[in-house]
């Protein structure tokens, strides 16, 4: 439990740092458009640690990121869409045995981008922004694919000991044998 919380804290910090760095870069395609590389760490937390930890990382990134970026209203746009997209990704991960990490990330990326744009339209009463929806969807595909591929590489490269928490080892794995023989 302590190890999980610590790891979640580290991932939250990494998500926050990457969000702040991305915020300094010029927007992509549409005003405010970003790839969302910080979602690598949030999705990583959700997949490895669990839904609750991933959600915590998302909330920490959204709240503290808005504070450090000096744009408090961004919480209103990013948190609801991020929550829905992350929940969708976790649902696809847990209930679909056939979809790859990249595809799950793309689905979440598109949903997040489009919902964020629509939330912006609703909150600021600027219906004209809905015309950017196709570009937001394209950006979501691009961002989701990037995030998914980076996450896939991370899961491949990281040692098994870092990806296992408590008694959740795969049956017959080396880690389980080492745990049982301790």
């Amino acid at each position: 439990m302590v190890r999980k919380i610590t790891f979640c804290g580290v991932l939250s910090a990494l998500a926050l740092i990457s969000f702040i760095i991305e915020n300094l870069l010029p927007p992509l395609i549409v005003p405010g458009g970003k790839l969302g590389i910080s979602n690598v760490f949030i999705l990583f937390a959700g997949i490895v640690l669990g839904y609750g930890y991933g959600l915590s990382a998302l909330i920490i990134k959204a709240v503290l990121g808005s504070v450090f970026a000096g744009n408090f209203s961004a919480i209103l746009y990013s948190l609801p869409s991020g929550f829905i997209a992350f929940s969708l990704q976790m649902a696809l991960f847990y209930f679909s045995a056939h979809l790859s990490i990249v595809a799950i990330s793309v689905a979440g990326g598109v949903v997040n981008s489009v919902l964020q744009g629509l939330t912006f339209c609703l909150i600021t009463s600027t219906a004209e922004y809905v015309i950017y929806t196709p570009y937001l969807a394209l950006l979501g595909i691009l961002g989701g694919a990037s995030v998914g591929f980076i996450l896939f590489l991370l899961l491949k490269i990281m040692p098994e000991s870092l990806l296992s928490f408590g008694k959740t080892f795969a049956v017959g794995s080396e880690t389980e044998n080492a745990y049982n023989n301790k």
Binding site: P31, V106, V110, T124, E128, I141, F165, F169
Partner: protein
Amino acid sequence: MHKKSGAGFKNLKPFSHADIILYLIVISAVILTFLLVFFPRDSKSDGFYIYVDGNLSAEYDYNTRAFNVKEGFDGYFYLSDSDLYFYSGKNPAEYNLIKIDAENKSVKVISSTCKGHDCERTSVNENGGFIYCSPHGLKIVAKFKDDTIPSPVTG
């Protein structure tokens, strides 16, 4: 070996056959939204509206070059032939410098004191467009005779 475990993660693949269905759905949805947005229209814009904090505050007509300020608008501005200094009315030090090109029927924010400068990255022309400055509450949209949805214009 289930994918939800430490060793199971090593067996993950970047692509599986089931992804094709999801990608087809996503691409179809994107193409549909593009078709809806870029559906051909006959009308062209002949001016633009300026909104401040959601309230219509002024409008401009490219043909007559008339700038009409609505009653009750407390923002103040300086207007030359082509440059409009828009002060949000809350703080004179906070402004958006709007450049109007009546010849080419376009308007663009060329300078602003807001953080982010997102308002400088879009423009409004006779085909449509949208300029929004969140910190200053400024919104500029194309004016159409038939109120059709404008096209996005970036850069």
